[in-house]
């Protein structure tokens, strides 16, 4: 087993890793940049080492000082958290070369899943559904027609050189195809000087739904159900929940099985996530990518399954077998997480720095707070804006939503603007209550607000 774990990260995830390690009886080493000397994770680590100046490239991304810190403190394992070095196969290999256990999957799995094209090809081979479409540039209208009939309408035609919606046409049925094809080709030629277009299935009412998986070094892989992460602002998740309010039990089971198949196909031996895009109309789902790390939103899965994902991730990295079989993993109730960022929703979510002159976290039943800050802490201007994750559990989704409203109302942060008021709006929005919200929810409600202000 691991005796001493170096945490190569900062903020709330460094605190989370320290918590898991302590509960496993493992000593912890924190590493910090000069800007993080007063951070909570430094206070909570058994031991800590300054590894460089504030810039990421000179501290949290600088292998040499991190590995030297591990060696000189006698650490025998490194947890990379998320971001930073978490999905860096070379770093994982460097750890191996120094006999340090890297808490993550084998480097080959990181490499295979790290390249989108490779990942998509491998998944197709493994029988995992990906968004259907032309392999490359469409040769002709006839080819488009054959393919569209095969995939099923609606489809979308896009310029291969394109972006920003130019050279793009959504095609609702076969009658629209000819006009749309020619219009897209002409527009692509005009806009990009390249008339190449491709065709793929158009996803209606899209949702971002991901499956948590966990594998060990003995070939076992299980899934721990899904998370619905469709509430995003510019691809940044703001709120995640489990279970997804729209999945049928049949779809949930199918997604879980497919995710396990996907993970098995790369001999996945750690905690990871298979991301799918889900079509709210057809109820089909398609592989998008795999994240070969623990994720920010892992607590919602922990709340409904009672499983400590961080502890399992560490234990399987140390060579232990998964303690539970698939059928022993049960879920209960509903969990929702809000990411409380130091950002001003009134000013385009501008990141804020400042000192937390007051910081009162919510408590009571069904409330979990994973925070990297504390009262009086000065937020350094060098890193990301995540202050805390507020996670609630309730027996039903309605219970969880009411609890989340109450907990958000209790969360008092003074000294910097935060996303709390924005989350308060989300959780009181009728569309959120219905649960069928799609990935453009935040964009739409932000637009509503602008429209209402005019």
């Amino acid at each position: 087993m691991i005796r001493k774990l170096l945490v190569a990260n900062r903020g709330e995830i460094a605190v989370r890793v320290i918590r898991a390690a302590r509960e496993l009886g493992i000593q912890t080493v924190g590493v910090f940049s000069e800007a993080d000397r007063d951070a909570l994770f430094v206070r909570y680590a058994d031991q800590s080492v300054c590894i460089g100046p504030p810039p990421l490239s000179d501290s949290y991304l600088f292998y040499q000082n991190i590995l030297a810190a591990a060696q000189s403190t006698g650490a025998d394992a490194i947890h990379p958290g998320y971001g930073f070095l978490a999905e860096n196969a070379s770093f994982a290999e460097a750890c191996r070369a120094l006999d340090l256990t890297f808490i993550g999957p084998a480097p080959q799995a990181i490499r295979k899943m790290g390249d989108k094209a490779t990942a998509k090809r491998l998944m197709k081979e493994a029988g995992v559904p990906t968004v259907p479409g032309s392999e490359g540039v469409l040769g002709s209208l006839a080819e488009a027609r054959t393919l569209a009939a095969e995939i099923g309408y609606p489809v979308v035609i896009k310029a291969t050189a394109g972006g920003g919606g130019r050279g793009m046409r959504i095609v609702g049925d076969g009658g629209e195809l000819e006009n749309a094809f020619h219009a897209a080709v002409n527009e692509a030629q005009q806009a990009f000087g390249d008339s190449g277009v491709y065709l793929e299935k158009f996803i209606q009412d899209p949702k971002h739904i991901e499956i948590q998986v966990l594998g060990d070094k003995h070939g076992q892989v299980v899934h721990l159900f899904e998370r619905d992460c469709s509430i995003q602002r510019r691809y940044q998740k703001l709120l995640e929940e489990a279970p997804s309010p729209v999945l049928t039990e049949a779809t949930r089971a199918a997604m879980g099985e497919i995710a396990v198949t996907a993970a098995r196909s790369v001999r996945y031996d750690s905690a990871g996530t298979i991301e799918f895009i889900y079509d709210g109309r057809s109820r089909q789902f398609f592989f998008i990518e795999m994240n070969t790390r623990i994720q920010v939103e892992h607590p919602v899965t922990e709340m409904i399954t009672g499983v400590d994902l961080l502890q399992w991730q560490i234990r399987v990295a140390a060579g232990e077998r998964l303690p539970l079989r698939q059928e022993e993993i049960v879920r209960r109730g509903h969990a929702i997480e809000c990411r409380i960022n130091a950002e001003d929703p009134q000013k385009g979510f501008l990141p804020q720095t400042g000192t937390l002159s007051q910081y009162i976290v919510p408590g009571g039943p069904g409330v979990r707070v994973d925070s990297g800050v504390y009262p009086g802490y000065a937020i350094p201007p060098f890193y990301d804006s995540l202050l805390a994750k507020l996670v609630v559990w309730g027996e039903t989704r309605k219970d969880a939503v009411l609890r989340l409203q109450r907990a958000l109302d209790e969360f008092i942060i003074e000294g910097v603007a935060t996303t709390i008021p924005f989350h308060q709006r989300i959780v009181r929005h009728p569309e959120f209550h219905r649960g069928a919200y799609t990935t453009d929810f935040i964009r739409r409600i932000t637009a509503e607000e602008v429209a209402n202000a005019c």
Binding site: A35, R37, A68, Q352, P380, P381
Partner: protein, 159 residues
């Protein structure tokens, strides 16, 4: 931007705290440039708008956790040059376990004289003196882990 969240005073403090020699902030397009002891470091994703421009320079010190109890700028002492660890590793006072230390307290050193070794990743990094003077203090223990920026020696330069 709220004045209370990021004012010039605060920026000046950061400058001092992180040994920055230059800091540029622009509002339009959210550009931040920080310079530190000649090494440029850009943070394109960081946005700190609201102050039109702030350019300042300061010369601060980095005080490691492990040496919080050490006297610093005591009024009865002459100005001492601090030699800090440029990397994380294990501090050795001698080139080999059975060899004599490179230097002792009270020794005279010239520029580029070897002071110690910091071992990291099996590589022995020799640390040389950046100044001429008398070694007044050896601040790390042989075999100890030293962290980035930790003071290793204090050298009195001839006045």
């Amino acid at each position: 931007m709220k004045g209370k969240n990021m004012d010039v005073q605060k920026l000046l403090e950061w400058l001092k705290k992180y040994d920055l020699t230059e800091l540029t902030i622009k509002d339009g397009g959210y550009q931040v440039t920080l310079k530190r002891e000649g090494q440029p470091a850009a943070f394109p994703h960081q946005s700190l708008p609201g102050i039109d421009e702030a350019v300042a320079a300061a010369d601060g010190t980095c005080e490691p956790v492990a040496s919080a109890a050490e006297p610093e700028d005591a009024p009865d002492k002459p100005e001492l040059h601090e030699v800090k660890a440029p990397l994380v590793g294990t501090f050795y006072r001698a080139p080999a376990p059975d060899a004599a230390p490179f230097i002792e307290e009270g020794d005279r050193v010239e520029v580029n004289d070897k002071l110690c070794i910091v071992e990291a990743m099996k590589i022995m990094n020799e640390i040389e003196s950046p100044v001429r003077g008398i070694v007044r203090e050896i601040c790390a223990r042989n075999g100890a882990t030293v962290e980035f920026g930790q003071v290793l020696f204090r050298i009195e330069e001839p006045s």
